[in-house]
């Protein structure tokens, strides 16, 4: 039948919802490319985990969290050309990862696969993804404050630590999603629902809700496409999202939500 395994659907919807919610803030912070590059850092993490026979999730989480902390640190130092350094650091990670990951694992690491998880890993992955989305939306006021007007936020007591926290949630979501979508495309899964959301919404609250829901819808629909045509799930999800994005471009301004 053309229905993907239920466990894959649950993981896809949970990871998609989480990606959509955090992606809104990555877009607002104008960090889409930094976010994309950040997910590439996962690759050496996967290589290290495979070398020590540990679940790749932990390697990814460690590397992406460390990279998020570096991005945060660079953000506070305005005299450095932050984006150039970020680009350099992360493409280096990609090169190291490609050379160190065994060939048979490489394609899945880059582009994702239908995740075969143990019941425990399945519960943890889905639970953490949904908890990340809930936390992102729960802290929406602080995150919106920090991303749209950092100086006024600071005066009201919403300090830079929230930026680090936002990046840490982003790192966690990237780590959870990489198995499904792959390191090269995970950044895109956070950016696409939010980009569509921005085309459809005229208020912040609508933007956040639309992005979150679209993250889930795009992931699940992409999974159906992948299963139907025996494609890799990562590219199918991303291309389905891009198709929706193109439709959103012609969405009339007068009927925005």
């Amino acid at each position: 039948m053309y229905v993907p395994p239920l466990s894959s659907l649950v993981i896809a919807s949970a990871v998609g919802i989480a990606s959509g919610s955090i992606g809104s803030f990555i877009i607002l912070k104008r960090m889409a490319l930094v976010g994309d590059a950040l997910s590439h850092v996962a690759l050496p993490g996967i290589a290290l985990a495979l070398a020590y026979a540990v679940d790749p999730f932990w390697g990814v989480l460690l590397f992406v969290l460390a990279a998020a902390a570096i991005v945060w640190w660079l953000e506070g130092r305005t005299t450095l050309p932050g984006d150039a350094l970020v680009g350099l650091l992360f493409t280096t990670s990609l090169a190291v990862g490609v050379l160190t990951i065994p060939d048979q694992e490489l394609i899945h690491s880059l582009f994702g696969e239908f995740p075969a998880l143990s019941p425990l890993a399945f519960t943890i992955t889905a639970g953490l993804a949904l908890a990340s989305a809930a936390m992102t939306l729960g802290l929406a006021r602080q995150f919106v404050f920090r991303t749209t007007t950092p100086d006024l936020a600071r005066v009201q007591g919403v300090g830079r630590w929230f930026d680090l926290f936002l990046l840490a949630i982003f790192a966690l979501i990237v780590s959870l999603g990489i198995k499904l979508v792959g390191t090269l495309l995970m950044g895109a899964l956070t950016i696409i629902p939010a980009s569509i959301g921005k085309n459809l919404a005229k208020s912040m609250r609508a933007f956040l809700i639309i992005s979150t829901l679209l993250g889930g819808i795009i992931s699940v629909a992409g999974l159906f496409v992948a299963h139907m045509f025996t494609f890799l799930p990562g590219p199918s999800i991303i291309l389905f999202g891009v198709a929706l994005f193109l439709v959103s471009l012609v969405f009339p301004r007068s009927v925005r939500l």
Partner: protein
Amino acid sequence: MRRSSLLVLEPDTILNVRDCSVVLDGERLVSGVSFKVQKGDALAVIGPNGAGKTLLFKALLGLVPFSGRIVWRPGLRIGYVPQKFPVDRSAPLTVREFFLLKAKGFWFPDRAFVEHLSHELSLVGLAQDILDRPIGELSGGQLQRLLIGWAMVDHPEVMLFDEPTAGIDVGFEETVYHILQRLQKERSTTILLISHEINIVYRYADQVLCLNRKMLCHGKPHDVLRPEDLTRLFGEGSFFKHQDQAHRQ
């Protein structure tokens, strides 16, 4: 915000600044500023462009690193009206949501808070129907009014205004100074104000601080704004323009 326990505040003092300096990229842009502000006072900071006035405000708010001591009375609510609208206007943020950044419930706001908004908006001359408009669609004058309304909405004990009338129409200029007076009289708000206009300083300030990277004078406007002080601060040409404005009042 950095606070120091070494500097003890007297009962009515809400801000004590001692030898404050700001160095950015190795350049000393503000140095040796010391002053105190009492509750309910209005302090005007004057000086030419590039004198470090905005930077001094940013140091007071903890937005830039500084040396020396800046001690606020603990637990103060501070309202800040920057010179330029500091919100990313490409973000899909409505005016209502901009206010909700100050509310407890962003998703489910308190009804009393929302009802209070229309009152604060009317004080700055904005109609209630502006609440559902995205901030990106507002004009420069509307944004300036919005900023003042936003800073006042939670009734802060201290308000910092960085040239609140820069780039707005003359009619609203009067409204702004009317608001300043109301804040002082009705809410006993302490006001710190950056202004280019000497006449405004005479009319509204209890204290004036002249800044041109260094503190050049500090005291009551009539005591310290002598012609030679203004010449020293603004240079010969600017002095006559300002003095002329002051006399027309």
